[in-house]
């Protein structure tokens, strides 16, 4: 990347500084950086060009935030011209943040949430912490400050706090624990991986970007600054520098973005991701393997180094489908586990009345859900269950499971359904007893004991793990959209338009993140919940009475919040929403177009969806539906077992494969 010499970088920096009239501040920043650089280099031997570049960007961010703080402190918030002045200072601060985004998001994502937090309050359950009770985390920074500034009566103290937290957070990025990571090349490729995933999922949609008009200008700036970062890295680590083919493609991407209209609504998201972001990701993944990149960040464990594309199903590790059989690599043994899992999936043995199987509600021919009913029948055959049956396809690509996120492993999910008195009603003790009463199952599982040295005898864990292993067999399919993104196919023009609307004007992509199309976004360590104001009926006479996440974690923010589900196969999994209230995709899009529950006149004080109309035309809505159809995946046909193993318990031998329901 010859065009980004250090001279160009310095000239750019000064031109920008002079353009905004902050020469004095720039000089001070440079002096601070030079001193910090001398300190760091004398201690750890960090390559100077690269670490100086990093520290310059972090200092510039801090200076911009301090300048913003001073403006707010001296401002009269009733004066509209002052509001405009603060608005531009926030924009300047956001630009300095974008210049460092490459590192900030990766090196210390928690601190980053204080610089650019999307929500005032978030309930977190991340990686290791998902085993614990969700904890409250407040957001701060420029996005929330901008939002507060444009509220009817902005409060100075609130604004000061939001910016002060960003200043404090920016200081964390100069700590030794962070800067020492810059002394080797490893972090660089992992930062770059996260950047590319965010380019596909977040940077073009307006997520975390308060003013829609700034999204694309900020993206351009981010890409220009990233190019400078690449150059500084290449000088410090010439043996691990990005190769020419990557740099050429990256430059083409910058050119492409510079020629795009400056609005997310008109931006060609399809071409951007397909022709640039994903191919760059492929190269970066090859380089991660080639340079034997080692992670020192626990967040990296969610992502698979073997995935060759963003649209490779291996991208995100997600759930452990194999359960206790996790370390089984032998294909014949795996096939045996999957096969017994399939038998159990179709076997009503695991329900209290011996009539209902997993396949009764998760019908293989209906995408492993039940498209014929709004919600499934209670085990008592009289009542209805409160929630719609979720499809099991792709359930493994989730951080938390269920509409309320009550389970964090697939094994808990399967056990939860089998032992739920309203669903299958089996007791935990009966799971093992009933299965081992069948000689065939006993023989199969006894043989599999060799694969699990931590167990002396066949347990419930083995049985449940076999069932969840089977889930993976129908979650590995690809959609037309995936093939189009991998350049094996192309999408019809209407579907392409639909995708661009999905990512732009209709704002679907700000919650249903690429490539999973659910609420798991880079760095893939949490599931998002949203309060939409879903109605109880299509006439919008009342809100759904279901409290959602509140039942698991009671808090003002979680009342009626539901986990964002995937849109993969959505055209096959009607009815929609947690209560199955909408039977068509058009009804769902109409719901969002009008601003969710609030937009339809319902009282949803904590709605996270904007209550404003999206102003989508009928043509646009149909284009989005065309696109959603391209998310239908190739799912191999599920073949029910011809017969079921005989049980020692005679009354259980009248079982029918797939159950009677």
């Amino acid at each position: 990347m010859a065009q980004y010499s250090p001279d160009t970088f310095a000239v750019c920096f000064f031109l920008r500084a002079m353009g905004s009239g902050h020469i004095k501040r720039t000089v001070v920043v440079l002096l601070v950086v030079a001193t910090a650089w001398l300190c760091i280099c004398s201690r750890s031997g960090t390559p100077p060009v690269y670490s100086t570049h990093y520290l310059t960007k972090v200092s510039a961010l801090r200076s911009a935030a301090e300048e913003l703080l001073q403006i707010i402190a001296a401002a009269d918030l009733s004066d509209t011209s002052v509001i405009a002045r603060i608005d531009s200072a926030i924009t300047r601060a956001r630009f300095t943040m974008k210049a460092a985004d490459f590192w900030l998001r990766y090196l210390e994502p928690l601190a980053y949430k204080h610089i650019n937090g999307p929500l005032p309050v978030e309930w977190e359950t991340e990686v290791f912490e998902k085993f614990e009770k969700p904890y409250r985390r407040t957001g701060a920074g420029f996005t929330l400050a901008w939002q507060h500034l444009h509220e009817p009566a902005p409060n100075r103290d609130t604004l000061l706090r939001l910016v002060k937290e960003a200043i404090d957070a920016s200081a964390i990025f100069t700590h030794d624990s962070i800067t020492t990571q810059l002394s080797t090349y490893h972090h660089f490729y992992l930062c770059n991986r996260l950047l590319l995933l965010n380019l596909a999922a977040i940077y073009t949609t307006g997520f975390e970007s308060p003013d829609a008009r700034s999204t694309i200008p900020e993206l351009r700036h981010l890409l220009d600054e990233t190019a400078l970062t690449y150059t500084a890295f290449a000088q410090a680590f010439p043996a691990q520098a990005l190769p020419a083919n990557y740099c050429r493609l990256f430059d083409s991407m910058r050119l492409f973005v510079s020629k795009q209209p400056p609005s997310t609504h008109q931006f060609d998201h399809y071409t951007f991701i397909r022709n640039y972001v994903d191919p760059l990701y492929t190269i970066n993944q090859q380089l991660i393997l080639q340079h034997r990149v080692i992670s020192h960040n626990l967040l990296d464990y969610a992502l698979n180094k073997q995935a060759s594309s963003i649209f490779d199903k291996r991208l995100y590790n997600g759930q452990n489908t194999k359960g206790v059989f996790l370390r089984v690599d032998d294909t014949a043994t795996l096939a045996a586990i999957e096969n017994v899992g399939r038998m159990l999936f179709f076997d009503p043995l695991l329900s209290a009345n011996g009539k209902r199987a997993c396949a009764s509600c998760h019908k293989p021919q209906q995408c492993f859900t039940d498209t014929s009913v709004q919600t499934a029948l209670h085990l008592n055959a009289k009542d209805r269950l409160p929630r719609n049956t979720p499809s099991l396809v792709n359930s493994q690509f989730n951080h938390l499971l269920m509409a309320d996120g009550s389970h964090y492993t697939l094994q808990q999910q399967a056990t939860g359904v089998i032992t739920n008195p309203a669903e299958m009603g089996c007791t935990r003790a009966d799971i093992t007893t009933r299965v081992l009463q069948c000689a065939d199952y006993k023989r199969i599982f006894s043989r599999l004991l060799d694969a699990t040295p931590a167990y002396n005898s066949v347990s419930e864990d083995h049985i449940i793990s076999a069932i969840t292993t089977y889930y993976a067999s129908f979650s590995n399919g690809y959609s037309l959209f995936d093939s189009a993104m991998n350049k094996q196919r192309t999408l019809a023009p209407a579907a392409q338009q639909g995708f661009n609307l999905f990512m732009g004007k209709a704002q679907c992509g700000t919650c249903h993140f690429l490539p999973l199309f659910n609420g798991v976004k880079p760095p893939y360590i949490g599931s998002e919940f949203e309060v939409l104001g879903t109605p109880a009926d299509t006439l919008y006479t009342a809100l759904s009475a279901d409290t959602g996440r509140y039942g698991v974690n009671p808090a003002p923010e979680t009342h009626r919040a539901f986990r964002t589900g995937t849109l993969r196969n959505i055209a096959r999994t009607a009815p929609h929403m947690h209560n199955g209230v909408f039977s068509t995709l058009m009804q769902v899009i109409d719901f969002y177009d009008a601003g969710g529950g609030t937009g339809h006149g319902l009282d949803v004080p904590n709605q996270t969806l904007s209550p404003d109309s999206l102003h989508l035309s009928v043509y646009e809505k149909n284009a989005i539906i065309s696109f959603l159809h391209t998310l239908n995946e190739d799912i191999p046909p599920a073949i029910p077992p011809a017969s079921l193993p005989r049980s020692r318990s005679k009354e259980l031998n009248a079982r029918v494969p797939g159950g009677i329901y």
Partner: protein, 125 residues
């Protein structure tokens, strides 16, 4: 009893003594732990032991004569998720796709409540 039965009993006894010898690792839980919690920890400890042998022993154990020794892992090295990051080899040997977080917790329980013997050596990784 015929010779066959004697042989069977004898081989069982030999097998049992070998097993005891190889698995001569003991646990010690704090006295103030309630019986219910203790039972839970015991089950987790046993599971952790098997998982340690399956996933960790090959690299970490040392051989002294015919006996294998499990090193003493300092408490600060048994810091949850940090185990995956502290040791560069764990990127390959201990990813989420090979040892789940649940299992990692069991291994930590095993190593934390294992009674150290006089031959054990302290390992930093």
């Amino acid at each position: 009893m015929n010779a066959k039965t004697y042989t069977a009993i004898l081989s069982l006894l030999i097998a049992a003594s070998c097993a005891t010898r190889r698995n001569a690792v003991h646990y010690s839980f704090p006295a103030e732990m309630s019986t219910t919690v203790r039972d839970q920890y015991m089950r987790d400890w046993q599971k952790g032991k098997a998982l340690y042998e399956e996933n960790c022993a090959r690299c970490h154990n040392t051989k002294k004569g015919r006996r294998e020794h499990i090193p003493i892992f300092p408490a600060d090295k048994l810091a949850g998720y940090g185990i995956r990051l502290d040791n560069a080899d764990h990127e390959r040997a201990l990813p989420e796709t090979r040892v789940t977080t649940d299992e990692l917790v069991s291994i930590i329980t095993f190593l934390s409540y294992k009674v150290h013997t006089i031959n054990d050596t302290v390992r930093q990784h």
